[in-house]
């Protein structure tokens, strides 16, 4: 074919590039979409209900930060061919590796519990049997992860990503003030800079930019065996993925802002949004919103659990790939499954305080994030590892500022939570 079509035939060149892009497409988008997991949707709903359209402005900032931070991870993974766990272990030794892994594993378990809780609550609201539903989620993820290859799993996640269109429909049904929504997105409109708002903003940031997200995008790119020559495409995908994620977040916030905020209905928990918007936006909107949460919970459960399993195999060197046969990747697979089972069991304990688990998880993520960015910045500026792909000076400036915003935000959350 016209592989040497260096500008002679622009159409076939565009076609070729598009094909490469589609071949590369997957890891960054899936990671970004998974950042809108069950817990994420709950946070967005809560923020939309409480602060209305004004919180949308934060979304723009979050999208930028997500794009920049994920891009660093994507670049490191494609250039070095190593996961974040690999690099941390090899640069900082066993002790740091063990501490980071333990932190990540506990925080991830908390996130999985939160996602199961989102599934459970939504199931209750729609009078679906919660426990069988959780069991089905576990069985499906078992079937795909244990039996399927990387390719099969990527397809599953991409199909799952399509379900986020539920929120678009929900939002349209809610008949929002589109003009105000778009304006709020670009300009800081009606922002009341209260302590509550700052917390809301940080919560939105914290649910989107997560330690596991940083780990997962690395591992997933490596499992896909993307190499440095595809870096440009993968960077493009990262920006696309960040945009897509917050494109859907936009509709989540709009759907709740147009209904709950406008009518001054307070939510106790974000998961109840689906039921709460029903009388205001109609049955279809409510059901789709609920379906969206179920799907987001499923995606979160599988991907967060995978991220722990990937991280473990990177830190401690056992085989960890969706393409590995069970015999070789035993630890990887068992670790994946046991997290689901443990989380599901914890969710079923009635006396357990889910609120506290979520709070603890968020705090732990807040503690981990600064370290993640320390590692990311250290590695992306290391010429021996990154070669010509180190952070260019202007970009480094940007990345450092973004990292510091996130670090300050997480430190702020932690300190204020202790002052309460």
């Amino acid at each position: 074919m016209a592989a040497n079509g260096n500008g002679k035939n622009p159409l076939s060149q565009i076609k070729r590039r598009l094909l490469i892009f589609l071949a590369v497409f997957g890891p960054a988008t899936i990671t970004a979409m998974a950042d809108n997991d069950g817990a994420g949707v709950a946070t967005y709903s809560l923020a939309g209900a409480r602060f209305g359209y004004s919180i949308l402005f934060i979304l723009l900032v979050v999208t930028l930060l997500l794009a920049i931070t994920q891009e660093m991870g994507v670049r490191i993974a494609t250039v070095t061919g190593k996961g974040l766990g690999d690099l941390i272990r090899e640069r900082y030794g066993v002790v740091v590796a063990v501490v980071v892994f333990l932190g990540l594993a506990v925080a991830n378990l908390g996130t999985i519990i939160a996602d199961f809780a989102a599934i459970k609550t939504t199931a209750h609201l729609f009078n679906l049997p919660a426990m069988p539903l959780i069991l089905i989620v576990i069985l499906i993820s078992y079937a795909f992860v244990f039996r399927g290859s990387y390719k099969v799993n990527q397809r599953l996640f991409l199909v799952s990503s399509l379900f986020y269109f539920c929120y678009v429909v929900s939002a349209i049904k809610a008949r929002p003030d589109w003009g105000l929504a778009i304006k709020s997105l670009i300009l800081p409109v009606n922002i009341k800079l209260s302590k509550e708002f700052i917390f809301g903003a940080i919560a939105v940031l914290g649910t989107t930019i997560t330690p596991w997200g940083q780990f997962f995008v690395h591992s997933y790119i490596i499992d896909k065996r993307l190499t440095a020559d595809k870096l440009k495409y993968e960077q493009l995908e990262t920006f696309f993925g960040a945009f897509l994620t917050d494109f859907f977040s936009f509709f989540m916030i709009v759907a709740t802002a147009a209904t709950l905020f406008v009518n001054k209905i307070q939510l106790v928990a974000g998961e109840q949004a689906a039921l709460a918007i029903k009388p205001l936006a109609g049955n279809l909107a409510g059901v789709l919103f609920g379906l969206g949460i179920l799907n987001a919970g499923f995606m979160g459960v599988v991907i967060v659990s995978l991220s722990t399993a990937y991280a473990f195999s990177e830190f401690f060197g056992n085989e960890g790939s969706l393409d590995a046969p069970f015999e070789k990747g035993k630890t990887f697979y068992i670790l994946f499954l046991s997290q689901l089972v443990i989380a599901a069991l914890i969710v079923t304990i009635p006396s357990i305080s889910l609120f506290q688990i979520v709070f603890f998880t968020q705090s732990l993520n807040g503690v981990l994030l600064p370290f993640m960015f320390f590692f990311l910045l250290k590695i992306t500026n290391d010429r021996t590892l990154m070669g010509k792909h180190t952070n260019q000076s202007w970009y480094n400036y940007f990345a450092t500022i973004s990292s510091f915003i996130i670090i300050i935000a997480s430190v702020f959350t932690i300190i204020s939570s202790f002052l309460k």
Partner: protein, 402 residues
């Protein structure tokens, strides 16, 4: 034997106690015998210097080096232990990830070199200084955990500089491995595999390997050899060892092999075989003391006080592993100069001179005289210790024969 985790960050000072810095890394030659060549030390003013290894005097609370030490640079074929080996991914022949290098095992007897890497979970806990806790916690449930050791012979040094630790057990490489290491490795496979390996080695080397195998492997291998092949292999094995092996075979097979041996060897072996009618069984005493390789000096001394009150003779303490196999020995002097907290595996002599039950009395006594040891442990075919023959037996034997 030392673990690198126990050395890292250790104070480096001269013999008269002047601080040089703290150990950060080691430099070694990346070849078949990875000798340590330089100590990489971080000085108090954050400088990094590489000190030639020959300046080392000893390692106790700190690493003691000569006052006049020399500095050197990284030479060709040299690698850093931390930068190039520690924490690196180990992959197998097919490129599958297996595990990471959790610690590096350093041999401090007979020259300093890297004898292999520790890939066990225990090593991770050792870095966290929780290894004793883990061992104790397991012991509470009656489980013994041990470190998982990968011999240097299983690693391909060439790949190290590329940041990868590749396991290559490809056959043509085996010859460059030390025969002891190979024997150790082979003992972990089965007899059929061992035979396959021995077939591709040259006679001399394969005899070396055979002599380092334990007796039941030796016996199984010779049983499967044709008499001609057995005779050929035996001529490279020490006569004492050869007799042990022959005695473990059925007498019919033995009779077939002996005539095929070269003359000089045949004479010697026939003579020794005659002696086997007086094996050492009746000489064995059970007055001996064993400790676990993980026991500390303090625990050992307590054990001596408690258990050896009735002993008429105690010179050596024997070290056994979890399977109760004899793995090391040390004498009382070596014990007393150590710190109470030091585990015995750190200073024991691993190369224990032993005799078997079938060893003839005369050979056993010759061995004691040759190595000038006051007692020899007797082990069974599983390397488990049965008892001791002591200098008393030598005295009796000489008295009888004067």
């Amino acid at each position: 034997m030392l673990y690198f985790s126990e050395l890292k960050g250790k104070k480096v000072s001269t013999e008269d106690g002047i601080l040089v810095g703290f150990l950060e890394d080691l430099i070694f030659q990346a070849d078949q015998l990875p000798r340590l060549t330089k100590l990489v030390v971080r000085t108090p003013n954050r400088e990094k210097i590489s000190i030639l290894f020959n300046a080392l005097i000893r390692i106790d609370q700190s690493i003691r080096i000569n006052k006049q030490y020399n500095l050197g640079d990284l030479e060709e074929n040299e690698l850093f232990l931390v930068k190039n080996l520690l924490d690196k991914q180990i992959i197998d022949l097919k490129g599958h990830k297996v595990v990471r290098v959790n610690d590096v095992v350093i041999q401090d007897k007979e020259g300093w070199y890297i004898s292999g890497v520790d890939i066990g979970t225990l090593a991770i806990f050792r870095w966290l200084k929780l290894d004793r806790l883990l061992i104790r916690a397991h012991a509470a449930f009656g489980i013994r955990i041990k470190s998982h050791f990968l011999s240097w012979g299983d690693i391909q040094p060439l790949e190290l500089s590329r940041g990868k630790v590749v396991l290559k057990k490809r056959e043509e490489r085996l010859q460059q491995v030390r025969s002891e290491d190979l024997a150790d490795y082979l003992e972990r496979t089965n007899v059929r595999n061992i035979k396959k390996f021995l077939d591709i080695l040259d006679d001399k080397f394969s005899a070396d390997v055979i002599s380092h195998l334990n007796i039941n492997y030796q016996s199984a291998i010779f049983r499967s050899f044709t008499p001609e092949k057995a005779a050929k292999a035996l001529q490279f094995v020490d006569a004492d060892e050869a007799v042990d092996i022959l005695l473990s075979l059925p007498s019919k097979k033995r009779q077939q092999i002996i005539p095929l041996l070269p003359d000089a060897k045949k004479q010697e072996i026939i003579y020794l075989l005659d002696l086997s009618k007086t094996p050492i069984g009746k000489l064995i005493t059970s007055e001996y003391l064993t400790v676990d390789s993980g026991d500390t000096v303090g625990q050992t001394i307590a054990k001596i006080r408690l258990q050896s009150q009735d002993f008429s003779f105690l010179d050596h303490i024997y070290v056994v592993n979890q399977e109760k196999q004899l793995v090391g020995v040390f004498n009382l002097h070596e014990l007393l100069i150590q710190n109470p907290d030091t585990p015995v595996y750190k200073f024991m002599v691993q190369n224990v001179i032993v005799v078997h039950l079938s060893t003839p009395e005369e050979i056993a006594i010759k061995k004691m005289l040759k190595y000038k040891i006051f007692a020899l442990p007797v082990i069974d075919i599983n390397k488990k210790m049965i008892g001791l023959i002591t200098f008393d037996d030598v005295a009796d034997f000489i008295m009888k024969n004067i």
